[in-house]
């Protein structure tokens, strides 16, 4: 063994191996807990992985850039996973084709509600303009939202944070909220999760019901398109 454990740490903390391992191990544990609690909403694996890894980075004084150099291999798979949504979509194509019109109407209403509600609330709370602009695209998937934020000259990293927080809150609240309303149509429940809480909502929907997951995936993809068109319009009208 090395007589200087500190030099080992210096080596490991700069290598992708350590941070990739930390990400996978933390997820494996939080996901196992989530399964043990039969996918209880509050045992959301994303939520618990974030604070555990975040705390670990703070305690070891590791920068996010160093962490991301390892974790980027996981991050990269977001693209292929989006392509992979084609498979459940294909397998459920008849149910999807039968629901095209309700989906389009719900897409228009949901997308508009997501943007207008956040802008009006943020204005009512008296938040500064640049923060409001950064929050506006929070319901679409992170990559697209950050692009919108950039084009508005807002703060893309704050947008990324609000996207993740929105996704986690949506994933936690969706099941109890829908059970409370008594709506049992898993197509609609999933679609709402995808509109309001993008990929994290979609991941949650797949945990609950495959049909819900399929509709959430479609909602997430369509919302990415509609929101990039609507946000610039909405902020010009609402923030004059």
């Amino acid at each position: 063994m090395s007589d200087n454990p500190f030099s080992l740490w210096v080596y490991l903390s700069q290598s992708p191996l350590l941070w990739l391992t930390v990400t996978l191990v933390t997820y494996a544990v939080t996901d196992a807990v989530s399964l043990k609690t039969r996918r209880h909403p509050l045992a959301n694996p994303v939520l618990h992985s974030l604070w555990i890894i975040g705390l670990f980075l703070l305690l070891t004084g590791t920068s996010y850039t160093t962490y991301f150099a390892g974790a980027q291999f996981v991050h990269f798979l977001l693209g292929p996973a989006t392509v992979a949504l084609a498979v459940p979509l294909y397998e459920n194509r008849r149910r999807v084709a039968a629901a095209v019109l309700p989906m389009l109407v719900a897409l228009a209403v949901g997308s508009l509600t997501a943007i207008v509600s956040v802008v009006l609330l943020a204005r009512a709370f008296g938040l500064p303009r640049d923060i409001i602009l950064s929050l506006a695209p929070k319901s679409v998937t992170a990559g697209v939202a950050m692009g919108i934020s950039e084009s508005l000259h807002a703060d893309p990293s704050l947008t990324a944070v609000s996207v993740i927080l929105t996704g986690i809150m949506g994933a936690i609240i969706v099941t109890p909220l829908m059970n409370f309303t008594g709506i049992a149509d898993f197509r609609g429940r999933g679609f709402a999760a995808g509109i309001a809480a993008h990929g994290i909502g979609t991941a949650r929907a797949f945990q609950v019901d495959e049909v819900a997951g399929v509709f959430a995936g479609i909602a997430m993809s369509l919302n990415a398109l509609v929101t990039s068109l609507l946000v610039p319009l909405a902020v010009t009208y609402l923030l004059r």
Binding site: T23, T26, Y27, D31, V46, S49, L50, L58, Y64, Y67, A71, V74, G79, P80, A81, T82, V83, A84, L85, V87, P88, Y90, E91, R95, L101, P102, V105, A106, V109, S117, V118, L121, A122, L127, L135, S139, T141, A142, S157, A160, S162, I164, I168, I173, L177, M178, G188, R189, F191, A192, I195, A196, A197, G199, T202, A203, F206, G213, S221, A224
Partner: protein
């Protein structure tokens, strides 16, 4: 397994190239999704395509494996919260309340519209 992953990556690659070449505001992976869907539909039409990753549940099982762990893929971006702790300390409560209310309102508006519209358009009320 490798062939299936290659097919998925290939769809994404073609999607990214197409989006950049045509300068359309669509994420590349979404075009890749449409491509893979078209390939799967074409396979039903032309059985000759049912080979390699498109045969024997190849690309299907690889996709299911990836989607089963979709939550994992959001963790690296999500940990970025650590960079914004100062801003969250200043406006955190307001931001959390705003996002929570907005997400609840959006969920309810979307599901209510979906359910209402599906009964209007087809008279069908599907309860699984």
């Amino acid at each position: 397994m490798i062939a299936s992953l290659s097919l998925i990556l290939l769809c994404q690659l073609v999607g990214e190239v197409a989006v950049r070449a045509l300068a359309v505001p669509v994420p590349g992976p979404v075009v890749g999704l449409v491509l893979l869907l078209l390939l799967l539909l074409a396979r039903d039409r032309y059985p000759v395509l049912a080979r390699g990753p498109l045969g024997n549940d190849g690309v299907e099982s690889a996709s299911r494996g990836m989607l089963a762990n979709l939550s994992l893929l959001f963790i690296p971006a999500g940990v970025g919260v650590v960079q914004k702790l100062d801003l969250l300390a200043e406006h955190g409560i307001a931001i959390l309340v705003i996002l929570a209310v907005s997400v609840i309102v959006t969920l309810l508006a979307t599901v209510a519209t979906f359910v209402a519209a599906s009964s209007v358009f087809s008279g069908e009320d599907e309860t699984p």
